[in-house]
């Protein structure tokens, strides 16, 4: 008898939960400001010795030995060739006489911290890489590959002119912007690939730990250092390259660079690093 009552109660409780389910989700509109604060607090609590701006140095901020390596590396950084090439390309006019600077506010100097932004006319997120290729196409030039070489050089130069400026990503008062943010967040926390890892598995749960010989970078400040020269790649890579290789490494199928999902992801990940200085171009092991 008693057992039967218990079971009935349990069934009732389950039914109540099932009803509460959908309405609870509907009420759960994201609060980016609070989320970004909680996100940053998680990392500063996990690494109490680090100042917020230290996180932009990725794995190099994670232990003292690596930090010494980084200091040495920064004296003679491996991204120098790319940076110089980028500076030259940026100043070289297109066939029609216009330059990259004409496509951007402030002539493209010192604006990296505002990208990606939400374009209310288009209703989508626009990243710096996308804006650069659109600039090329608008001026009758063929777009560059999103992952390396020219694109990395250009973004390296644009990041360099913005060094030290804090990330300043805005979410305009537009439900589509909030949706893009939310989608980016979902992408970040969704497990995928044969290894069943999400972005957060490595970069939120385990930063500072080793994955084979590499030290994992914290998600906070991850994009501040883009583009990066990775010794592993023997070359430069953009945000697009980082995202696609990450998906490959967890044995997933990467999307195409600058697909909407990646743009939303970049939007989310940049937003939660708001306030941290741009440090790109960076060098990574």
């Amino acid at each position: 008898m008693r057992l039967a009552i218990c079971l009935t109660l349990a069934a009732l409780a389950l039914a109540a939960l099932a009803f509460a389910g959908p309405s609870a989700i509907a009420a759960d509109t994201p609060d980016p400001v609070a989320e970004a604060k909680a996100f940053q607090k998680y990392f500063t609590t996990k690494f109490p010795k680090l100042k917020p701006e230290d996180f932009v140095n990725g794995p190099y901020s994670m232990n003292e030995d690596l930090h010494r390596q980084w200091e040495e590396k920064e004296q003679f950084p491996p991204y120098e060739f790319s940076l110089e090439a980028g500076k030259e390309m940026f100043a070289t006019p297109f066939k029609n006489g216009k330059t990259y600077g004409d496509c951007f506010p402030d002539k493209g100097i010192g604006i990296r911290q505002n990208y990606p932004y939400f374009d209310e006319k288009e209703g989508k997120v626009v990243t710096l890489e996308l804006a650069l290729n659109r600039c090329r196409e608008a001026n009758g030039e063929a777009p560059y590959s999103y992952v390396k070489d020219e694109m990395a050089s250009l973004t390296a130069y644009m990041a360099f002119t913005s060094r030290g400026k804090p990330f300043d990503i805005k979410i305009p008062n537009d439900p589509r912007a909030l949706e893009a943010y939310q989608k980016g967040k979902e992408y970040f926390y969704t497990r995928r690939g044969q290894l069943n890892f999400s972005c957060a598995t490595c970069h939120v749960q385990e930063p500072g730990e080793r994955i084979r010989a590499e030290v994992l970078a914290p998600a906070l400040g991850l994009l501040n250092a883009m583009p990066i020269y990775r010794s592993e790649w023997s070359g430069m890579g953009t945000v697009s390259r980082r995202f696609t290789t990450c998906n490959n490494q967890i044995r997933g199928v990467p999307l195409n660079p600058q697909d909407e999902e990646y743009r939303d992801l970049e939007y989310y990940l940049s937003y939660v690093s708001n306030g941290l200085p741009i440090s790109g171009p960076g060098a990574r092991p």
């Binding site: 004296q75 491996p78 023997s234 070359g235």
Partner: protein, 103 residues
């Protein structure tokens, strides 16, 4: 084209510390491209740092050195403001040289 060699030579009393970064593909000859064709070997064979007409550092390199190599060493006997000449020759006979002032 800009020089393929970046050098920084700093004198610290008696000792001059030299750092150099060289832009070179350093292809080993064992790597295939996306089409499956072998990328021919292309690497620096000799790198020389000369001070006052004398070689202070000579490196005999082979295909095992990685792309865009970096070198750091120090030597005695140079003064601030002196010239340090750096040159390399690769296996295809290409060469580049630059002169840096010791700071």
């Amino acid at each position: 084209m800009a020089s393929t060699i970046r050098v920084r030579a700093t004198s610290n009393g008696d000792i001059t510390e030299v750092q150099a970064l060289i832009q070179h593909p350093m292809d080993s000859g064992f790597v295939k491209d996306a089409q499956g064709a072998v990328i021919p070997a292309h690497f620096i064979q000799e790198l020389t740092f000369e001070y006052d007409g004398k070689a202070v550092f000579v490196a005999d390199w082979g295909p095992a050195v990685s792309r865009d190599p970096y070198v750091k060493f120090s030597f005695k006997g140079a003064k601030k403001g002196d010239d340090l000449k750096i040159s390399w020759v690769d296996n295809k006979g290409a060469t580049d040289a630059t002169v840096a002032k010791i700071q």
